[in-house]
Amino acid sequence: MSEAPIFHSKYSYHHDGKAQQLDIHEILVKRSRLGIFLSYFMVVVFLGTNVYFVTTKVFCILILTFFEVNIRSIWSILVCFLLAKFLHYNPVKKERVVIMPAFGVQLETHYWSGRIVRLFVPISKILSSMLNECVTPVTCYWSLALLLRDEGELMLVFQLIRFVQKLQPPLKMLVPVWKALRAAINCEETSIT
């Protein structure tokens, strides 16, 4: 059965439980166009001010200073571009969890560029799924993780992307996925015993 979609300012959740005995949960990321526009606008403004300083030669009394200003400008442009990318640009379009009962779980990441990364975890390898509260120096958030047999680390269901941007869907979207994973794992355990 499918549940009603859940909407949030940044994410939306959809569930399709009818497709050929597969249980599919999707979390879509909304792209903030205003955010991207503002970040690149900031970069253009910074670029503009640097070009202005270079042309009016405010700092360039000596040749050494001229080179310094150029290097400083290039460096600051690079920093601004990187910052804009990190802050606003999220390459992930949606994350999908496909639960195949008695077989396994497939974790898919769909990017805006069209690339899809898939990771399959056999059901026998999963011990349990859990909702973790993660505490950072500035905030707390929930994350969904799988406890695997013979592995020292938890596997995050919604992963780190390029070690910077991390999907942090709200708890109300994680709970149906967690319940479905638990049901699938418990079914498997009862069928073994």
């Binding site: 300012s9 505490v135 950072t136 500035v138 905030t139 707390c140 708890l171 709970v175």
Partner: protein, 443 residues
């Protein structure tokens, strides 16, 4: 007023498990008893090594080990405003109604109380120690305390002496300070099943061997007592910088067979050390309360202690012999205790302690303080700022500036991350069945 009103309390301190100490055990036992009374308690402290994130201890007590590093004597680095986001997040997601800070020496406590007041929460502060007035460290600490207590809802002290000390240091009005003493876990500290013979009298000392705890007094007292009484033996537990002096004293007077040095004693083993003795000796130079003598009395030991700070308020006269912090007077007090020893019944003492001190009683009294705190009116920033101006001609203005900047940062944070975007944590209900503990949640 709703008598059955249940609160959601955030206990904040730099000092908590896995550290062991007076403040740590106070927070733990108080939280457990408040949970039994039906309130919800969350503890916030800094991370201890790899112990970071959310942990649940006994009975579902939730502890946030926030990953801020400790920088000096287990205190978090004081950053003034950088802790605002995490404290705001915890206060909103746990639906906190009261913030309870512990220990004047804890920087995390002061910052949390400041941010909680800015956000309009009711705050309570408990002071566990006595501080001086004269040295540079104390002057600065007292100024920080003045800032925190300028706008507190209620304060709690562990003895009347401590109340007087806190009121003088901070300038808070005495009618906002409650006295709620500490207690002892009498179920854990029980007397020995077999009574010790009085042929050889054993005097037990368990404390940190530092100047503040009177280790220098011990160095004078122990040889004198050993010389005067041939049947007296000492057991000294604990470690610290003054241990070297005690070892030297043992060597000098050849007391190796009469003075046993145990080194640091883990908290779980304290009872077994106590029940091997007849008399407990406390030589502290300053003490707001002294839980150690409560533990000793609960184990049926007669206590000899220095008459400092809040110690005279702790035990009845027939359970303690008090003396001045002077070696001669202490030897005289030990002589008096040895004479009193045959009339002491450890079990009767333990039963009396059970009636006198109980953490459940402390929790009920603290509940009254919380109810009183919640009755105080909500005030906006402009009405609260004049209280900081009273802290001093320069300090007052600086404190006002600090609070104004904190308020502005809070407004900015509200715009960046609105309250609606912070999810509230669902309540966990712990249900125990015969064989295992099972957690059911309300998700």
């Amino acid at each position: 007023m709703d008598q059955q009103r249940k609160h959601t309390i955030l206990m904040v301190s730099d000092f908590f498990y896995p550290n062991f100490g007076g403040v740590e055990s106070h927070i733990y036992y108080l939280s457990q008893c408040l949970l039994k009374l039906g309130h919800k308690v969350v503890v916030m402290t800094h991370s201890y090594g790899k112990r970071t994130g959310v942990r649940y201890v006994t009975n579902g007590l939730k502890v946030y080990y926030v990953p801020w590093r400790a920088f000096l004597m287990q205190n978090t680095l004081p950053t003034f405003y950088l802790t605002l986001p995490i404290i705001r997040t915890i206060l909103i997601r746990e639906r906190i109604s009261i913030v309870h800070g512990h220990q004047a020496f804890s920087t995390l406590c002061h910052e949390a109380l400041m941010h909680a007041r800015t956000m309009g929460y009711k705050v309570v502060f408990t002071d566990h120690s006595l501080y001086g007035f004269a040295d540079v460290g104390s002057i600065h600490m007292n100024k920080v305390l003045q800032f925190t207590l300028a706008d507190i809802s209620q304060a709690i002290c562990v003895s009347h002496t401590s109340k007087e000390n806190t009121v003088l240091r901070s300038g808070i009005t005495p009618d906002r300070v409650f006295v709620v003493p500490n207690a002892v876990d009498t179920a854990m500290f029980t007397p020995s099943t077999c009574r010790l013979s009085c042929d050889e009298i054993v005097i037990v000392v368990i404390s940190r061997l530092v100047y503040r705890k009177g280790a220098d007094l011990l160095v004078e007292v122990i040889p004198e007592v050993c010389h005067l009484f041939s049947n007296v033996r000492f057991i000294v537990g604990g470690d610290g910088p003054k241990r070297v002096r005690l070892e030297e004293m043992r060597e000098k007077h050849s007391l190796q067979d009469r003075v046993e040095m145990l080194g640091a004693v883990p908290h779980a083993r304290v009872r077994s050390v106590l029940i091997s003795g007849h008399i407990f000796l406390n030589s502290s130079l300053t003490e707001a309360f002294c839980i150690a003598i409560l533990e000793a009395a609960s184990c049926g030991l007669l206590t000899v202690s220095t008459r400092v700070g809040g110690v005279p308020e702790v035990l009845p006269d027939d359970m303690v012999v008090l003396s001045e912090p002077d070696p001669g007077d202490m030897v005289h007090a030990i002589r008096k205790a040895i004479v009193m020893l045959p009339s002491i019944d450890p079990y009767a003492m333990h039963q009396r302690m059970k009636k006198l001190y109980s953490w459940h009683d402390v929790a009920k009294r603290t509940e009254i303080v919380y109810d009183r705190a919640l009755q105080s009116s909500d005030e906006n920033l402009l009405r609260r700022l004049p209280r900081y101006l009273k802290c001093g001609s320069w300090a007052g203005k600086m404190f006002c500036l600090v609070m104004i900047v904190n308020f502005l940062l809070w407004c900015l944070l509200d715009l960046w991350q609105p309250v609606e975007s912070i999810e509230e944590v669902p309540d966990l209900v712990f249900i125990r069945n015969e064989h295992e503990d099972v957690v059911h949640d309300s998700i």
